[in-house]
């Protein structure tokens, strides 16, 4: 299903990630997943958190450039072949994946991905009977 991911622009400066986490911590926001994409000059912090709207406000107040992005979350057994299957379904439809990351919960893994066409991707994944995680379930993990 569609999940709102928190995306934050960060300069490559020490201490900035800490400030983000402290800001979220001040309101007891939980983090389900976190990933950082970076270049030599700047980075983008991507997070699945318990209350994305509130988290966005908290960071905006502290002058961070922040946005909510729609991503897809899928629950599958944590074997490589399931991850491969997801990617194959999308590439067969010529849908490009802008980025993806995953984390494990016991025997299962949660795959987060951002695709060039979210709706088409969702439909295809549903047709293949993949277990699409609802936001409310994901935030609780």
């Amino acid at each position: 299903m569609i999940v709102h991911q928190l995306s934050v622009f960060l300069e490559n400066k020490s201490g900035r990630l800490t400030e983000v986490l402290e800001a979220l911590g001040s309101e007891r926001i939980k983090i389900t997943a976190l990933s950082v994409a970076d270049t030599s000059e700047f980075g983008i912090l991507r997070m699945i958190v318990s209350d994305p709207a509130k988290a966005k406000e908290l960071l905006k107040e502290r002058s961070f450039t922040v946005n909510l992005t729609e991503v897809i979350s899928i629950m599958a057994p944590n074997e490589a072949k399931y991850y491969a299957k997801v990617l194959r379904i999308l590439s067969d439809l010529d849908l490009s994946i802008e980025y993806t990351y995953a984390f494990s919960v016991g025997e299962k893994s949660v795959i987060i991905l951002r695709c060039s066409n979210t709706e088409e991707a969702l439909k295809a994944l549903k047709d293949h009977e993949l277990d699409l995680l609802k936001a409310s379930d994901l935030y609780k993990l």
């Binding site: 991911q5 300069e11 000059e41 983008i44 992005t69």
Partner: protein, 433 residues
């Protein structure tokens, strides 16, 4: 389009040059014999009044600066006895003494004439109501507009600055058609009109004449949209005469200089060489009819470009570009002159960013380096690395092609760049020379 003084404003350029030369000769003679300061300076350079025949000889004369006016405070550069002076204005001295200017009766007539041209340039005539919200007093803005407005026969409303509530009431009740004030006050008024829920149809405003401070094309668009008027840029400085030195016409493509009164040159602010047409540099004026305070090659510190081709409005008077900034802000990078305002105008043309930037100049291994930090705008920020990298590359390419200088662009978080009262520090020069 009406033209106030068709004879002068549309004059054949060769004829104009002849008149300018004649008036320059008379001016040089007058300052040589009546102002000890100019006589000494000319003698030091081995020049006499007979050295100057045409405007081509002008470059031989020394410059005058604001400091020279201060050194001769208050009346030392006046070229007539005080009994001939009928008006004195002064500019506030934020640093040191104020700059004092004096006008003879003829100077006031000249000023009214050039202001009449300015207002006619903006499309105003005797049927208009001109709401003058420039300050009246020592500042030249209010009275300059006032005399010009009366000269064209318009109904002048001398509101002066301040008391916004009353300004709004008068704008509505009197049905003013022309607004004269600083561009920032025009924006302020536009917001006040919105807040007061005054309907646009209750206003008869058609055009605004705005000057006395630098403003951008973006500000112009904003004023024109919010007030639904044509926003005309006017230029002047009290040392030269006040408002009326130059004005845009309704074509809005450069400001026509009343060069039969004020002869313009563009110089390189470092080498002080006169630059050819089309080059950007510091604007220098020689007043060629003024009696009270004639100025020879007065350095305005304003940066602009001159264009001599005939305008679509029919005027042949030379046009100056909207001022680009101040020459005091100029940087020299690897021998190339760079003005922060040039960077700003490139950024303003790009919709993906706001012009919040910081230029950092440094010298590494004897080579000047230039770094530009630009804030990432929230409205544009998506979470794709490639999008940010494309943006960064685009800013860099646009700057390099416009400035002719290699520049390293870095995207930074907002508000990282210090801001205080809307004015931010734009340049850090780390070079130790």
């Amino acid at each position: 389009m009406e033209i106030w003084n068709r004879h002068i404003e549309c004059m054949d350029r060769q004829e104009l040059r002849r008149i300018q030369g004649e008036r320059l000769r008379e001016t040089v003679e007058r300052v040589y014999f009546n102002v000890p300061y100019y006589r000494n300076k000319m003698q030091e350079s081995g020049l006499g009044p007979e050295s100057i025949h045409t405007t081509d000889d002008l470059h031989r004369l020394p410059f005058t600066t604001k400091q020279d006016l201060r050194d001769n405070y208050p009346f030392g550069l006046f070229a007539v006895p005080m009994s001939e002076i009928v008006r004195v204005h002064a500019s506030s001295g934020t640093t040191g003494k104020p700059t004092v200017v004096g006008y003879t009766r003829n100077d006031i007539a000249t000023w009214s004439e050039v202001m009449a041209r300015t207002l006619t340039c903006a499309g105003a005539n005797r049927h208009d109501f001109i709401h003058v919200a420039y300050g009246y007093g020592l500042f030249t803005g209010g009275l300059g507009l006032h005399y010009g407005g009366e000269k064209i026969g318009a109904s002048v409303i001398p509101v002066s600055g301040g008391n916004t509530i009353r300004q709004l009431q008068l704008l509505v009740d009197f049905g003013s058609t022309v607004l004269a004030c600083t561009p920032s006050y025009a924006l302020f008024l536009a917001e006040a009109i919105e807040d007061a829920r005054i309907k646009r149809d209750d206003l008869k405003l058609r055009v605004g004449v705005f000057g006395a401070e630098p403003w951008t094309e973006n500000m112009r668009r904003e004023i024109e949209e919010k007030l639904r008027i044509k926003a005309i840029d006017i230029y002047g400085l009290s040392e030269v005469i006040g408002p009326g030195v130059a004005s845009e016409c309704l074509v809005q493509d450069g400001l026509h200089i009343s060069e039969d009164q004020f002869y313009p040159e563009i110089i390189d602010p470092v080498t002080l060489e006169v630059l050819p047409e089309g080059k950007t540099g510091e604007l220098v004026f020689t007043t060629i009819t003024k009696e009270g305070l004639p100025l020879i090659r007065y350095r305005t510190r304003d940066l602009t470009t001159l264009r001599y081709e005939k305008c679509r409005c029919g005027r042949t008077l030379v046009r100056m570009e909207k001022c680009l900034g101040r020459s005091d802000d100029m940087l020299i990078i690897r021998g190339v002159n760079l003005f922060p305002s040039q960077v700003e105008s490139v950024l303003l043309e790009m919709s993906e960013i706001k012009p919040h930037y910081l230029l950092i100049v440094d010298r590494v291994n004897n080579l000047d380096t230039l770094e530009l930090q630009v804030e990432v705008d929230e409205e544009f920020f998506q979470d794709k690395i490639s999008q940010l990298q494309t943006l960064r590359q685009k800013i860099q390419t646009n700057l390099e092609s416009s400035l002719g200088l290699g520049i390293r662009v870095n995207l930074v978080e907002p508000k990282t760049l210090e801001r205080s009262e809307g004015k931010s520090k734009r340049v850090i020069d780390k070079r130790k020379l």
